[in-house]
């Protein structure tokens, strides 16, 4: 796979404080890369450095092989972006806004503008002033603005912020489609984990300015071990039983009974043991780990090790 965006040991220092600490990763063509982290972790700062709104203290960022530091104009011509909310000139029509941005890139025709308007579904309202637009329409206009020049990289900071569920779904499908059909690299940032799980191919987790993990969503959610939940009676005896036979299982009370981390192969044995011990088993189910669990797990783990 071809890397289109490459961050090399990027560090940002503001007033002697390291906001971003030695981040390196690559984003390939045709993939949706999620940038995940709690508020204030440095997602937006990193994105601002990629698009050249902020300077890089040390390290470098390459877009399509061109450094944003040395040849800003060429590097940034590959990028279409919305940084935070898509702020537009409210006193002008949506169309005028697009014309304004079209004049700033080379070779964008009127047809291209109309085509993009059609694509984001704003044809009916494009000649109205932006101040009359709803938030969803502004998001679409923002999207039109970054697609005008057919960029190779699309960067969206919190793209689903303030959208209703239908709008979120629409944006999600649309981004996946762009990545697939136009072979674009899409970088999205969010703190909404469920969103990222559905939208992204790979995820980079950032915390306190450090990139602590980059994994594919699939691997990330799966992890290594699985948790099972047993609906049993009496619970205390069952916990004792599991913990003596499988000390690593760390069985404990959960909402509907007890939980234990076990291999799938061990389940029949455990059930047999319980039955023999006179414990009544009402149900067993695998608890799927969500990105959220993993995220909290990873961030707290790394957070702890960082303190030691």
């Amino acid at each position: 796979m071809e890397a289109i965006v490459e961050l090399k040991n990027v560090t940002k220092v503001i007033k002697n404080r390291k906001i971003i600490d030695d981040i390196s990763f690559r984003v390939n063509r045709g993939e949706v890369f999620g940038f995940l982290g709690p508020n204030g972790a440095g997602k937006t700062t990193t994105i601002r450095m990629i698009v050249g709104l902020m300077r890089i203290t040390s390290g470098d960022i390459l877009i399509g092989g061109t450094s944003i530091k040395t040849d800003f104009e060429k590097a940034v011509s590959h990028i279409g972006a919305i940084v935070e909310n898509p702020e537009m000139y409210k006193f002008m029509s949506g169309y005028d806004n697009l014309v304004h941005y079209a004049r700033m890139s080379k070779g964008i025709t009127i047809e291209k503008i109309n085509e993009t308007v059609e694509l984001v579904g704003l044809t009916d309202r494009i000649h109205d002033k932006v101040k009359t637009y709803s938030l969803g329409m502004r998001q679409r206009l923002g999207l039109a603005q970054c697609l005008l020049h057919d960029p190779k990289v699309l960067i969206l900071d919190e793209p689903t912020n303030g959208l209703d569920p239908a709008g979120i779904r629409e944006i999600r499908d649309y981004l996946r489609q762009l990545a697939r059909e136009k072979n674009m690299a899409v970088i999205v940032s969010s703190h909404l984990l469920s969103e990222m799980e559905m939208m992204c191919d790979r995820i980079g987790i950032i915390q306190n300015g450090k990139l602590i993990d980059v994994q594919s969503v699939h691997d990330f959610v799966q992890g290594t071990e699985t948790v099972f939940e047993f609906e049993v009676q009496p619970a205390d005896e069952a916990i004792l039983l599991i913990n003596t036979s499988y000390p690593e299982a760390a069985s404990k009370r959960s909402r509907n009974g007890i939980s234990a981390s076990l291999e799938k192969e061990d389940i029949p044995t455990v059930v047999q043991m319980m039955v023999e011990a006179g414990i009544q088993v009402y149900g067993i189910k695998e608890v799927p780990k969500t990105l959220e669990d993993r995220f909290l797990e990873v961030t707290s783990e790394k957070g702890e090790t960082a303190h030691v």
């Binding site: 503001i14 601002r48 698009v51 050249g52 709104l53 902020m54 300077r55 800003f72 104009e73 060429k74 940034v76 011509s77 990028i79 972006a81 919305i82 940084v83 935070e84 909310n85 898509p86 702020e87 537009m88 000139y89 409210k90 006193f91 002008m92 005028d96 014309v99 304004h100 941005y101 004049r103 700033m104 890139s105 080379k106 603005q145």
Partner: protein, 315 residues
């Protein structure tokens, strides 16, 4: 670059405020014209005895000058006496009828209002982008920041030129309608350094406009600089307008005590002082003022461009 300037002008002219400014400019000019016309109707005194009148005027001015102690007043009277004597000597009557050129000359006071509007626009041209949040989308285009800033500055100049043309053309046209165009334009009598010379009226007016625009240019450049450095349009407007109204007086006050006042921007913005009247401080010359103005201009531009280029956009 052409496209960038088109963008900036679009952003200026798509806002209703701009048309309010143009409206006020036209309105004030019209009111001034109406006022003068009304006064004129009251005051149709014969011009036949102008020689006698001028003589009387000169005599009283001389008397006044003997009593006067302040330098500006003396200068003013001296000028009046010199011009009156020149008229008597060369038999040039004061304009018989108030004509469009007199009106344009009187209306040129309104330039400072146009200047005020240009300051308001230039104070907002960078700061507003930060306020609106549009700066983020503006700076991620494949165009260097300095080019964007240059386009913004050029647009301010064009806008200033536009307002001045409106003022000039409108006052000429209105003057022509209300007061008429004279067949033979009386020359403008210029007084400088104790001597009186004749000048073509239209050339004088254009020069007068040009010279007056220098103060406007410097102040809007300053507003532009403040706007780009502090990203705050209120500060830029407030400070520039405050200096526009008080800068001259403060400089005059300082000039009475200290000779370094000649390095203050406002001591130099009025280049007319080298063509008419007398310089604020002895020892100042046209080339001195031009150099001082150039230095101020370059410093303002350097600050604006340097900081705008370097800035991390976090708004």
């Amino acid at each position: 670059m052409f496209n960038l300037i088109r963008n900036e002008l679009m952003k200026i002219f798509k806002r209703p405020g701009t048309y309010v400014m143009i409206g006020i400019l036209v309105l004030i000019t019209s009111i001034a014209a109406g006022f003068i016309k009304y006064q004129q109707l009251d005051n149709i005194s014969g011009n036949a005895k102008w020689e006698q009148r001028l003589k009387e005027e000169t005599a009283s001015a001389k008397q006044q000058m003997a009593m006067s102690k302040s330098k500006p007043e003396k200068d003013y009277l001296k000028r009046q006496i010199a011009i009156n004597e020149y008229r008597l000597e060369h038999r040039i009557a004061p304009e018989e009828k108030y004509s469009t050129w007199e009106f344009v000359s009187d209306a040129s006071q309104i330039i400072s209002l146009a200047g005020l509007f240009v300051i308001i626009i230039s104070a907002g041209i960078v700061a507003s982008e930060f306020n609106w949040g549009t700066i983020k989308l503006l700076l991620i285009r494949p165009i260097k920041r300095s080019k964007i800033l240059l386009a913004k500055y050029s647009s301010i100049l064009l806008f200033g030129l536009f307002l001045l043309s409106i003022l000039f053309i409108y006052s000429t046209a209105l003057g022509a309608v209300l007061f008429g165009v004279p067949d033979k334009t009386a020359p403008y009598l210029n007084y400088y350094d104790g001597k009186v010379t004749e000048q073509n009226m239209v050339i004088h007016l254009i020069k007068y406009y040009g010279m007056n625009s220098i103060g406007m240019l410097m102040l809007s450049t300053m507003a532009f600089m403040i706007s780009s450095v502090f990203r705050n349009s209120s500060l830029a407007i407030g400070l520039s307008v405050f200096l526009m109204f008080t800068g001259g007086q403060i400089t005059n006050l300082i000039a009475m005590k200290f000779s370094w006042a000649k390095y203050i921007l406002f001591a130099n913005t009025d280049l007319m002082q080298y063509f008419e009247g007398s310089p604020l401080i002895n020892g100042m010359s046209l080339s001195f003022s031009v150099i001082v103005l150039t230095i101020y201009f370059l410093v303002f531009q350097f600050l604006a461009f340097y900081i705008f280029n370097k800035r991390d956009v976090a708004a």
